[in-house]
């Protein structure tokens, strides 16, 4: 038997007895956020002249807002909504509280803050509770993006499906999986009920709740994949608009 003296309580940031690679997850998430934020900032503020090509409109610039006298990027008028929706999303809150605020950096890993911690009880974090209002806006934006995907099916009066149509449609699909798996939506469509079988209306809500629940189980997956597809859809349209890539037509009638 061999003895070493230590105290069992970790107190410092990063202090832990965990021997597995707990740092990898927050590090990967941090890099994911950093990459996305840099790309969006560059596109929205510095590279915003390329917003559409043929029937395709970049999701970052949809709906197309053109006002006389507004000489800045139209993305400024639009992107606050998805940004606020995602920033108040229950999954993304978990992700950035861990990877950015380090509160906690990972489970059973020490961190700062001590007893004065207030969680989501005080300003500004109490504002996370408005998430459902951003959900209402996000559902509207999603409907407009589906319209864009529909418009992308025809060109100059003919039906035409190009790679861009597929890109925009896949993006809409993943954004729908993400938005329709929202925790707030899950509550509103039926989760708030105590009894699912007590009336026909409640039973109908239960059926919708089951669908939302199925998507909700993979909410983090849809959150990241839709973040990826929305950025790629924008990049694809940008490359067409800049004349770097050419859109391959898959079907023309």
């Amino acid at each position: 038997m061999n003895q070493t003296t230590t105290s069992p309580v970790p107190a410092k940031l990063g202090a832990t007895s965990r021997s597995n690679a707990w740092l990898i997850e927050p590090a990967v998430i941090f890099c994911g956020f950093a990459l996305f934020v840099c790309y969006v900032t560059w596109r929205a503020l510095y590279d915003w002249q390329y917003i559409e090509w043929g029937p395709y409109l970049s999701p970052f610039f949809s709906p197309k807002l053109i006002f006389p006298g507004w000489q800045w990027s139209p993305a400024i008028l639009l992107l606050w909504e998805p940004a606020a929706f995602r920033a108040t999303c229950y999954y993304f809150r978990k992700a950035y509280y861990r990877a950015l605020f380090l509160d906690p950096p990972a489970c059973a890993v020490g961190h700062l803050g001590g007893h004065k911690y207030t969680g989501e009880n005080r300003f500004p974090l109490i504002l996370q509770n408005v998430h459902r209002y951003f959900l209402y806006l996000a559902l509207t934006v999603l409907a407009l993006l589906w319209v864009d995907a529909f418009v992308a099916c025809s060109y100059r009066g003919h039906i035409r499906i190009g790679v861009g149509t597929v890109v925009l449609t896949v993006n809409c699909l993943l954004l729908s999986f993400y938005t329709c798996g929202c925790h707030a939506l899950r509550h509103l469509v039926g989760g708030r009920l105590k009894c699912f079988s007590c009336s026909t209306a409640a039973h109908g809500q239960f059926k919708i709740w089951q669908c939302v629940t199925r998507l909700n189980e993979r909410h983090a997956l849809w959150a990241w994949t839709s973040l990826g597809t929305v950025a790629f859809a924008d990049f694809y349209v940008r490359m067409l608009a800049a004349g770097v890539w050419t859109d391959i037509s898959l079907l023309q009638l």
Binding site: M1, N2, N20, R98, P104, G114, N216
Partner: protein
């Protein structure tokens, strides 16, 4: 025979804690709790540990194995590499009694604050499976308190004064979502239970040996009910209009 190296925390509230290293022969199918029993039986009868079922059902043998909050009777020895030092510590969020045993009475005190299930006097006691599925998930809880141990609000921020912890949100959700229950524990959860302290970082869900979706199915569902009652002016307006309140 293969030997495992176990570094076990030993101490009491009055003596400084220390780790003692033991070598334990590993047999097929062995779990960490077996190794602890071997130490008690052959190397050090003074080692204290709390356990009952050795079947992951009583929730007594909670500890931190290599820093991960786990049930010792559910943690297999064959997952550790040959020669790897396995650290075993008591759960850190609760006061130490001796070695691997802690005083978890905080949890029993919190439990008393939750108004129990209250069915209506004329309840029919007939309900469908779909109404009880949500509640049955929460009833799987074995009260191991690993979620309470890992929750940073209790563990690092030491907010036992204002926060009930995930286990008791699971219990509250279980009664709140029961089809026959007539109570409303939402104001209590918000004002006394400290639901707002939870920042949904999901460590409780990660450690739960019963795989209860604590954060997604209990905590977030309760947080949304709090939003209904406290933070949604539109819903409040609609309630007024339609209920004529």
């Amino acid at each position: 025979m293969r030997e495992a190296i176990l570094k076990v925390f030993r101490g009491t509230p009055v003596e400084a804690g220390k780790f003692i290293t033991y070598k334990v022969p590993v047999e097929e199918g062995m779990v960490v709790l077996d190794a602890i029993h071997y130490i008690q039986g052959y190397l050090d009868p003074e080692l204290s540990v709390r356990w009952n079922c050795k079947a992951a059902k009583c929730g007594s043998c909670s500890a931190e194995v290599n820093g991960d909050p786990s049930l010792m009777c559910k943690t297999r020895m064959d997952q550790f590499a040959e020669g790897e030092e396995i650290t075993i510590e008591p759960i850190k969020t609760f006061p130490l009694i001796k070695d691997l045993v802690t005083d978890v009475s905080f949890n029993y005190e919190v439990n008393k604050q939750i108004p129990p299930f209250c069915p209506a006097d004329d309840a029919t006691w007939i309900f469908k499976q779909e109404d009880i599925d949500r509640v049955q998930e929460f009833r799987k809880c074995i009260e191991c308190f690993l979620c309470q141990d890992v929750c940073h609000v209790l563990r690092d921020h030491e907010r036992k004064d204002a926060f009930w912890g995930p286990r008791f949100f699971v219990r509250s959700a279980g009664v709140e979502m029961h089809p026959l229950d007539c109570g409303n524990r939402i104001p209590l959860l918000e004002e006394q239970g400290g639901l707002g302290f939870c920042n949904i970082t999901k460590c409780c869900t990660e450690v739960c040996p019963e795989e209860i979706h604590i954060t997604d199915n209990a905590i977030i569902a309760l947080k949304e009910r709090v939003v209904d009652e406290y933070h949604d002016p539109l819903a409040a307006l609609l309630r007024r209009v339609f209920k004529g309140k």
